[in-house]
Each structure stands twice: as structure tokens, then as C-alpha cells.
């Protein structure tokens, strides 16, 4: 059975959680994603880089009290891919039940 809308980039557990966290929100700060996923900075950076490379996530930098803050959001492409992936997961569950 070939899963046509199944996205292997998104499906990795951490990246799936990143997309799920970003999906109902506008922008989310790096520290918030790190805390929600309970992962280290380096692990999160690696996964976000992969999502950025395929154009699913974009970042915006801002400075508060001289400290740089990074905010992330899902792009339209990323949102569409995530929605299709969720639909595919639902289809798999319903078909095999």
C-alpha cells in the first residue's frame, strides 16, 4: 500500500510535533518549541533546519533587551503538507481498523 500524501520529512516524531505545535498558531519562539518537545537546542535546531530546507518552516529574528529571539511559523506549503499528512494518517487508521 503506497501512502501518496504521506510525508517522510514531517513524519519523524520530533518534526511531527514541531509541525503540530506550529499549526494552530501564528509564530512560536524557539524556547517554547524546545520546552514543549523536551529536547536540547541542538536537536531542535537540526530538525528545524530540515523543515526549513524543504520550505515548510520559516524563521524571523527579533532582538529583545539585546538578546536575539527566533520565531518560527509554518509556511503555506508546510501547512498544506502537514494537513495532507494528517489526512493520510487518518485514512490509514480508518482503512486498517
Amino acid at each position: 500500500m503506497k501512502n501518496s500524501n504521506f510525508d517522510t520529512i514531517i513524519h519523524a516524531p520530533n518534526r511531527l510535533q514541531i509541525c503540530a505545535l506550529l499549526s494552530p498558531l501564528g509564530q512560536v519562539e524557539f524556547r517554547v518549541i524546545r520546552d514543549e518537545l523536551s529536547v536540547s537546542d541542538s536537536v531542535l535546531s537540526k530538525h528545524i533546519k530540515q523543515l526549513e530546507d524543504v520550505g515548510y518552516v520559516k524563521q524571523r529574528k527579533s532582538k529583545v533587551n539585546g538578546r536575539e529571539r527566533r520565531w518560527f511559523h509554518l509556511t503555506n506549503t508546510g501547512r498544506k503538507a502537514f494537513e495532507l499528512h494528517v489526512e493520510e494518517l487518518k485514512r490509514i487508521v480508518s482503512e486498517l481498523q
Binding site: M1, K2, N3, F6, T8, H11, P13, L16, Q17, A20, L21, L22, S23, P24, L25, G26, Q27, V28, E29, R31, V32, E36, V64, W71, V86, L89, K90, I92, V93, E95, L96, Q97
Partner: protein
């Protein structure tokens, strides 16, 4: 659990869906506006209407700055911003209605004070505006709760 890159089992798919729901709920909880936020904004909006209605324009800039600081502080401390799901037309309509309501209240307060001599009018109208604004923020908060609850089911 994964057979290969394009083949996954039902159990894995269900676990992924559960994990998605949990994270979406966590995200919505992050942007749930706290009660103090709605109360502070309501107080500031009411004060602004009362002051402008009473013809006192000295502290208007301070109230507008406090409103901006409150909104920025809330967004920064939450570490997330809500996603605007309304259409551009709805947003423009809401802005026009808000500005129109603001001026309507201010003009009413000024008329009642200057024409009819009701010196208390700006304070009462300001207080009413604050209460209405606070109720709107509570409704917004409840809509977030229902979205979070919907994610649970």
C-alpha cells in the same frame, strides 16, 4: 513499527495522530489570553474613552503606550502568537466597527457633558466600555477553551 519509508502500520498512525492532538492542544494553551490581560486592556480602553470624552487629552499618549506595552509583553511572555483565522475583509470590518464605536462613545460622552451638563457621563460611558471590552475578552477566552476541548475529543 515502520515497514519502510512509505508503509506504516495503523498503530503507528494512531500514535502519530494522538501526538499531533496533544501538541496542538499545548500550542493553543500557550496563547490562551490570561484574565489579567483582558482586564488590563479593558481598564485602559475605558480610561481612554473617559478621558477623551471629558476633554482631557494630556495622558492619552501614555494610555496608548501602556496598551502597546501590555500586548507586546503578553506576546513575549507567551512565546507564541495566535494565528489569525479571520478573513482580511472581516478584520477590516472589525477595525472599522471598533474605531466607529470608540468615536461614537467619545462623542456621546462629550455631548452629554457639554450640552446637558452631565459631568459624570464620560466616567459612566468609560466604565461601560471597559465592562463590554472585558466581556468580549472573556468570550474570546472561552472560545479558546472550546478549541482546546475540541482537540481533546
Amino acid at each position: 513499527m515502520t515497514n519502510d519509508k512509505n508503509h506504516i502500520k495503523s498503530k503507528e498512525a494512531q500514535e502519530a495522530l494522538d501526538s499531533i492532538k496533544e501538541m496542538e492542544r499545548a500550542g493553543l494553551k500557550r496563547v490562551l489570553p490570561p484574565i489579567w490581560f483582558g482586564a488590563t486592556l479593558a481598564l485602559l480602553v475605558g480610561t481612554l474613552i473617559a478621558l477623551v470624552g471629558a476633554g482631557i487629552r494630556t495622558y492619552n499618549w501614555l494610555i496608548i503606550i501602556l496598551m502597546a506595552v501590555t500586548i507586546i509583553y503578553q506576546n513575549l511572555s507567551a512565546g507564541a502568537t495566535e494565528r489569525l483565522i479571520l478573513s482580511t475583509r472581516t478584520v477590516i470590518t472589525l477595525i472599522i466597527c471598533s474605531v466607529a464605536s470608540f468615536f461614537l462613545l467619545v462623542i456621546t460622552a462629550q455631548k452629554l457633558k457639554d450640552t446637558f451638563g452631565f459631568d459624570w457621563a464620560p466616567i459612566v460611558i468609560g466604565a461601560l466600555a471597559a465592562v463590554v471590552f472585558f466581556i468580549i475578552t472573556i468570550i474570546a477566552r472561552n472560545s479558546y477553551f472550546s478549541r482546546i476541548y475540541k482537540q481533546k475529543n
